[in-house]
């Protein structure tokens, strides 16, 4: 198995400062956040430009070129509901460090994002839901099958569909957490890749609790076979946990300085 893939989540238009930088095409805040994440050990960076209804294609191109030229063709996840923007981003994307990730498809209204990924030899994050959240794992696996078939039909490798079980918030859905872990285990048994916005589990918890809960969650998920997550790499405790789990899983070779590299 390969190393756990950390996708840095901090370039998101939901953060006001990032949104402002995107709108004003101000490179500095973007570069600064990207650098912080890469220094902390992110491999991919998620670029969430929001819905970007007016200038999506142009904005995504700008962001892709800015980040890839600044950071040696850093691999990116292109995150927007604007399909044309994703296509535009891929058109200027350099894949020497990794295929672009299309973020994201689902088994209902967004299933065409799989076609888009297939047509562009990209990876796609496939959310295991249809209209609304799946009620149990039978339903999740049905969505998974639908999307897997769609990808295979369009000539994708199964390994390029990264399934997202959709992490649920503990405060409110505590009783559903083991289901998510079981879903990850099933995906792993099928040798499928998986990812997701893992820190959703700790939403609404006090700030000092979240890194602890996220670390526990990522360790349990990695045990079940999760292969990637979209997280904040500047959460030191979380990153240390991921690196340690990678050692325990024999994904990377141990050296005393493993936390520093």
């Amino acid at each position: 198995m390969g190393k756990f893939v950390v996708i840095g989540e901090r370039l998101s238009a939901t953060a006001p400062s990032v949104n402002k930088a995107f709108t004003e095409r101000d490179p500095q805040p973007i570069i600064q956040r990207a650098k912080q994440q890469l220094d902390a050990g992110a491999y991919y960076l998620d670029v969430n430009i929001g819905p970007a209804e007016n200038d999506g294609p142009e904005l995504m191109k700008w962001a892709v070129q800015l980040l890839q030229s600044e950071f040696d063709n850093v691999p990116l996840a292109l995150d927007t509901a604007n399909k044309a923007a994703i296509e535009a981003g891929i058109s200027v994307y350099n894949r020497s460090k990794g295929k672009p990730i299309v973020n994201s498809a689902d088994a209902a209204g967004r299933i065409e994002y799989i076609d888009l990924a297939a047509a562009n030899d990209a990876i796609v994050i496939a959310l295991c839901n249809g209209e609304g959240i799946a009620k149990d794992n039978d339903e999740r696996m049905m969505y998974c099958q639908t999307m897997l078939e769609r990808g295979l039909e369009h000539g994708m490798d199964a390994s390029d569909l990264w399934f997202d079980p959709l992490f649920l918030v503990i405060k409110g859905m505590q009783d559903k957490q083991m289901q998510i872990l079981e879903c990850i285990k099933m995906l792993s048994d099928m040798e499928l890749n998986s990812t997701g916005g893992l820190s959703n589990n700790s939403n609404g918890m006090p700030k000092h609790i979240r890194p602890i809960m996220d670390s526990a969650m990522v360790a349990m998920c990695m045990m079940c076979g999760l292969t990637s997550a979209i997280v904040n790499p500047n959460d030191l405790r979380l990153m240390e946990t991921i690196k340690s789990c990678d050692i325990i899983k024999d994904n990377t070779l141990y050296a005393d300085s493993y936390l520093e590299i």
Binding site: D138, M141, M142, C144, Q145, L148, E149, L152, A158, M186, D189, M190, E191, L192
Partner: protein
């Protein structure tokens, strides 16, 4: 080899009809992969899909048995490309090459001089490779001379008539008939079937080898070994590696799922050092039968040692027999040293002791095949175990009452002295490399 859920899923109708009892074809595939449900529960699997499935569950590399009695050997059956992934299972065998124009008896006698025991394993060239040089009568004479000698015979012969005559002489010993190629394989398959022997296949290059093996499989014969020897050293290495890699790949190509024969007499004739070098490479990289000009100690000590190391099960430590090992002419008056029965420890320690030149008795007691500190921690190297062994096994045979113990278990000194009346316990240095100086100093000071 177990099939993965995804492989099974690709073969299902993907209709989610639920007739199998699972909500989706995906869930069904997962259960089949885990062995929880039988594939036949799906009423809609096509025949083609079923055939693909049964093919996919067969082992990727065949296990082939050759020879009879004490000279019966198992080849192939490997499942990994590197020993650390799991373990290698069938060690390569060495064959001595003879030709009809040689003094075959003398050649065999020469090779048979190498026959010794190393950590419980008999070391000798197990096979003889008889090459036909065109003269059928001379070939049969040579085959007669190697028959009944306790070696598995490999007949290298592409001429069907000569091969038949040779098989008539030796087929009871289950030889290998290494003779099929693109031009003669039909006849050769017939001969091999009739005699019930394993057939060796060769080709002008890797593609011809592949096609010929495929054609032979089509004739229904699957007791094969593949002669991967090419025209050059480079080609031989490339073919041998690619054949093994293809059959152990994620999607195994079973046409190459057979053991190999590598003939060093052909690619490095009359060059002993080169044959040793290449034999070492092919012990590591996928030779099953390695053919050489002869066997002698210069070849054997290195190659058998290498093979024994590489073909150990990584889960099981190599152990040496407990007992008293006199070194450098040690006798009953020589000092006694003790260490554990882990083979690597034994070899390193005995090597250093030999380098010191000081006569001594190395005493090995049963420590579960663990290294010194591990054995101590596990309670397998204790003052009780050491003193018991010394009392029962050493005291009746050795007069010296000086015992040197490993530096890493210096803590045992007091307890051993308390338990062994009349013995003086000396603590050795921590590392084996320091033993030479340590012993020489003890000798110089007259202490031992």
């Amino acid at each position: 080899m177990a099939l993965k859920g995804l492989d099974i899923f690709k073969l299902t109708p993907k209709t989610n009809c639920k007739e199998c009892g699972s909500p989706t074809c995906m869930a069904f595939s997962m259960k089949v992969a885990q062995g929880a449900v039988d594939i036949s529960k799906c009423p809609h699997m096509s025949e083609e899909a079923m055939a693909t499935l049964s093919e996919a569950t067969a082992p990727p590399m065949k296990t082939i048995k050759v020879g009879t009695g004490d000279a019966e050997y198992t080849l192939g059956g490997e499942t990994v490309l590197a020993r650390h992934e799991k373990t290698f299972v069938s060690k390569p065998r060495f064959a001595v090459r003879v030709t009809p124009d040689m003094d075959v008896d003398a050649a065999l006698a020469e090779a048979n001089k190498v026959d010794y025991d190393r950590i419980g394993e008999r070391m000798h060239a197990e096979m003889v490779y008889v090459e036909c040089n065109g003269d059928a009568a001379a070939f049969v004479e040579a085959v007669k001379k190697v028959t009944g000698k306790g070696k598995t015979i490999v007949l290298a012969c592409k001429d069907a008539d000569a091969a038949k005559a040779a098989l008539d002489v030796c087929k009871a010993e289950k030889p290998i008939l290494n003779g099929a190629d693109a031009s003669n394989y039909e006849k050769m398959v017939e001969l091999a079937k009739e005699a019930g022997v394993v057939l060796g296949v060769s080709g002008a290059d890797i593609n011809e080898l592949y096609d010929t093996a495929a054609a032979i499989e089509k004739l229904g014969y699957k007791d094969l070994v593949l002669d991967t020897t090419g025209a050059t050293i480079k080609e031989t290495f490339a073919t041998t590696v690619q054949v093994r890699r293809a059959c152990l790949a994620k999607e195994p190509d079973r046409t190459f799922g057979y053991p190999s024969i590598v003939n060093l007499s052909k690619i490095a004739p009359n060059d002993e050092a080169m044959q040793i070098s290449l034999a070492s490479v092919f012990v590591l990289k996928y030779g099953s039968i390695i053919v050489m000009d002869t066997m002698n100690y210069a070849r054997g000590l290195a190659l058998f040692g290498l093979r024994q190391n590489v073909y150990t099960d990584p889960q099981k430590p190599m152990k040496v027999e407990p007992g008293i090992y006199p070194l450098n002419g040690g006798d009953e008056n020589s000092v006694v040293l003790t260490t554990v029965d882990f083979a690597l420890t034994y070899f390193v320690v005995s090597g250093e002791l030999e380098r010191s030149g000081v006569p001594c008795n190395l005493v090995i007691s049963d420590a579960g095949g663990l290294s010194v500190l591990t054995a101590w921690a596990a309670g397998k190297l204790s003052s009780t175990s050491v003193s018991k062994f010394i009392k029962e096994e050493v005291e009746p045979k050795v007069k010296s009452r000086k015992l040197i113990i490993p530096g890493k278990v210096a803590v045992l000194k007091g307890d051993i002295e308390a338990k062994l009346e009349g013995w003086q316990v000396i603590v050795a240095p921590n590392e084996a490399v320091q033993l030479v100086k340590f012993l020489k100093d003890l000798q110089a000071s007259g202490e031992i």
